[in-house]
């Protein structure tokens, strides 16, 4: 038996013993555990599952042990993912700290920053949000205006962020801010941590999505003071950090598959085989889309295998993001059709499917729009000329 096999055996029995039964099975929107100082656990099982996984560092499997992570190799992390999905274990923690800030700190942070910020992220004790976009800086992020002035040992921040996911529910925000307006656009931006959003001058007010969910918010900064120690990386070189992180964001959105029930199964269950056969056009659409989805899954699987072998997708992660989100919109839209009028009745048994559809639309926009992902592929992967 190879080492990989014995690790798998160990993981399997550990999960079998430690993963609460309530934390297995298809994961709904309400099953996510975001953690943080203000978090209310849905139930004991959610709390227990987070504690158990984070005590092994498995909320951040590949981070070094010294910062609370699991210290797993890419291959072992892949084994853990496979074993979790084998029993449909829920992800114990949904966290921008793990997906984005952590990788930034591991790459660009000081030793003090790593020790201070990473362990609470692993344990789900601090909830971070991402403050990049502004009203006039979306796809063209580099034109951002929020100003941070270095005065003595402190930065003083003024400006406004928008579309900040869960800004009104978070404890801390990592921001891109303009630290030198006199420099060319890319060269005057810094990556700054506001590690306590309750300090004076920070106001976050929620905005509703089409689905009705209060997902993102506007965040205003009015003379907010933070220590110079909160700068990540080099002053005015924040764009390097941002570029590095975008790859993680795209891979994260691309790799995420919320509801894995296959379309044909949904249709058979809801309509029955005979009704479906009586509608050959609908049946054909379901089959075609299901085949496209299954084909896409083969790509996700291949890229996972590559990642486990140490081959990183780089700019190819734009492609995962593009296809995952585009296919999800089509899939959910068709699911609504399968349900017919039941699918649009928010108060009926199937009302969830319309919300899933509406909730799929923003994913084509957040993390760089679909059009921007195509730009990235054209330029960075295909190296086409221009701009």
């Amino acid at each position: 038996m190879s080492d990989g096999d014995s690790f798998r055996t160990e993981v399997r029995s550990w999960l079998e013993y430690n993963c609460p039964i309530e934390k297995r099975g298809p994961m709904n929107e309400t099953d996510h555990c975001f953690g943080g100082r203000r978090w209310r656990f849905k139930d004991d099982a959610q709390r227990l599952w987070l504690e158990r996984m984070s005590s092994r560092g498995w909320t951040a499997p590949e981070w070094p042990r010294q910062y609370g992570g699991g210290g797993l190799s890419p291959v072992e992390a892949q084994v853990l993912r496979e074993e979790m999905s084998r029993i449909q274990a829920h992800s114990p923690l949904t966290s921008l700290g793990i997906w984005m800030l952590g990788p930034a700190l591991l790459r660009f942070g000081t030793e003090e920053q790593k020790q201070k910020y990473l362990p609470p992220i692993v344990r789900g004790e601090v909830r971070w949000c991402q403050g990049y976009s502004e009203p006039n800086a979306g796809s063209d992020l580099v034109s951002l205006q929020t100003r941070a002035e270095l005065i003595g040992e402190e930065f003083v921040i003024n400006g406004a962020k928008i579309w900040t996911s869960y800004g009104h529910l978070s404890d801390a925000i990592f921001c891109l801010v303009r630290t030198d307006p006199s420099k060319p656009r890319h060269e005057g931006i810094s990556f700054l941590l506001i590690d306590d959003m309750t300090v004076p001058g920070v106001v976050a007010s929620p905005l509703k999505l089409l689905s009705g969910a209060e997902h993102f918010s506007q965040v205003f900064f009015d003379d907010v003071h933070v220590s110079h120690d909160n700068l990540v990386g080099v002053l005015n070189r924040g764009w390097d950090v941002a570029k590095y992180l975008l790859l993680f964001e795209r891979a994260m959105i691309g790799g995420r598959t919320a509801d894995t029930t296959r379309l044909p199964a949904i249709a058979v269950k809801h309509m029955g085989r005979d009704a479906l056969r009586a509608e050959p056009m609908l049946r054909a659409k379901i089959i075609e889309l299901d085949m496209e989805l299954a084909a896409f899954e083969a790509m996700v699987e291949r890229y996972d295998d590559e990642a486990a072998a140490g081959i990183m997708p780089g700019a190819k992660s734009s492609m995962l993001k593009y296809w995952a989100t585009e296919l999800a919109v089509r899939r959910h839209e068709l699911t609504v059709s399968v349900m017919g009028i039941d699918g649009i009745n928010l108060d009926g048994d199937s009302g969830k499917v319309a919300l899933n559809w509406l909730a799929a639309l923003p994913n084509r926009i957040g993390g760089g729009t679909s059009e921007i992902q195509l730009n990235v592929i054209a330029k960075r992967v295909l190296e086409l000329p221009g701009a």
């Binding site: 291949r302 296809w323 054209a378 086409l384």
Partner: protein, 374 residues
């Protein structure tokens, strides 16, 4: 099962790539096409394939092959597609070998498998209808005192103009059972008609009228015949998907190069965002197609219960993607793209023919739906 290829397979891939890229197959295809040499086209690079040992890639060592898996043999089809190489690899080395290996007939295995590995050409003559419909078999075989008589018409016989032996499914006049028969292509009562396809490859029809056979010609005469056929079709479909992937990837790479060099309106046409986005989409589709080819091969090697589902998925999706990519490749070249002298259109034609063989997208979508319980 990982979807990454191992070092041995990578070496095989690299040597196949070197061989086919160096075989000058496009120029010889054009030359043979212009002189209507359909025998030459069908043989193509076969001698080189045999010399490299690729004709025995799927045949176990005990029968004189190298006993590799599907993950390995699809690499060869992909490289043939990329270089537009011809030769009876799919028909003989892949599909016929697979049927004979699957069947329970040691005598025929011992006879024919080593012969295929060393270059004998055997093909499957199964199709009867212009749209693929493998289980509707009208060819008949009668049995009188241990002697057999075969009659019927087969079409779309891949490499049927050069094969020495044909594997022919036919229905027993006694009990309707499908028999698989091994027939010499020069037997009495066989008439072969050869036309030229849009890809310049032969399109072969073979008529059998009262062809006399003995028990030694029977590969299989029980209900498993259909399973053997299915196995051969599925591995053929996976290899056709690999071939389409190779052709489409090559057409795409050439198109991206063209976008970087062709100047209109004072700039490289690759600067136009409309074209950048089309190229980016095609790139994504090709990555999906590649993953699916690997996935279907890996499933075929390891999970028999799901191999039909994935073979159909690959044949249908890769077919659609490859048609899209090659059609766009022609369009993005402008006028030169629709010129016979220019190669890009040859990829389009190759892909179209491969996508029609052994079931097109609609056929496989329907089959896939059935397997999903729809």
């Amino acid at each position: 099962m990982s979807l990454l290829i191992d070092d041995d397979t990578r070496m095989l891939r690299d040597s196949a790539q070197r061989f086919f890229a160096g075989s000058d197959s496009v120029r010889s295809l054009r030359r043979l096409r212009d002189s209507r040499d359909l025998t030459g086209i069908a043989h193509g690079t076969w001698n080189g394939i045999v010399e490299l040992g690729l004709s025995g890639v799927l045949i176990p060592e005990q029968f004189g092959g190298s006993g590799l898996d599907t993950m390995a043999s699809i690499q060869i089809s992909e490289m043939m597609g990329a270089s537009l190489a011809t030769g009876p690899f799919l028909s003989s080395a892949v599909m016929s070998s697979t049927i004979l290996l699957a069947c329970n007939n040691d005598r025929i295995k011992n006879d024919i498998l080593p012969a295929i590995a060393s270059g004998s050409i055997v093909t499957l003559a199964s199709e009867e209808t212009s749209r693929h419909n493998p289980l509707s078999i009208s060819a008949t075989v009668g049995n009188q005192n241990g002697r057999y008589v075969l009659s019927g018409n087969k079409i779309a016989v891949i490499d049927g103009n050069i094969a020495e032996k044909l594997i022919v499914p036919a229905k027993s006049t006694d009990n309707g059972q499908v028999l698989l028969l091994l027939v010499n292509s020069d037997a009495n009562g066989i008439v072969t008609k050869v036309g030229m396809g849009i890809d310049s490859h032969p399109v072969v029809e073979i008529a059998f009228s009262n062809v006399a056979l003995g028990p030694e010609n029977v590969i299989s005469d029980d209900e498993r015949s259909i399973d053997y056929l299915d196995k051969a079709f599925d591995i053929g479909r996976i290899h056709l998907a690999a071939e389409m992937l190779g052709a489409a990837q090559e057409a795409f790479d050439r198109t991206v190069d063209y976008l970087k060099t062709r100047v209109q309106f004072g700039r490289k046409i690759g600067e136009f965002q409309a074209l950048q986005h089309r190229a980016a989409l095609l790139f994504g589709e090709l990555e999906i197609a590649r993953s699916l080819v690997l996935k279907s091969a890996s499933i075929y090697d390891t999970d028999q219960a799901r191999s039909a589902e994935f073979a159909s998925l690959a044949k249908a999706r890769v077919g659609e993607i490859a048609k899209h990519v090659t059609t766009e490749a022609v369009q993005l070249h402008g006028g030169i793209g629709v010129t016979d002298d220019f190669d890009i259109g040859l990829f389009l034609k190759r892909v179209k023919v491969a996508s029609e063989r052994l079931g097109d997208t609609s056929f496989h979508a329907e089959r896939y739906a059935g397997l999903q319980g729809l």
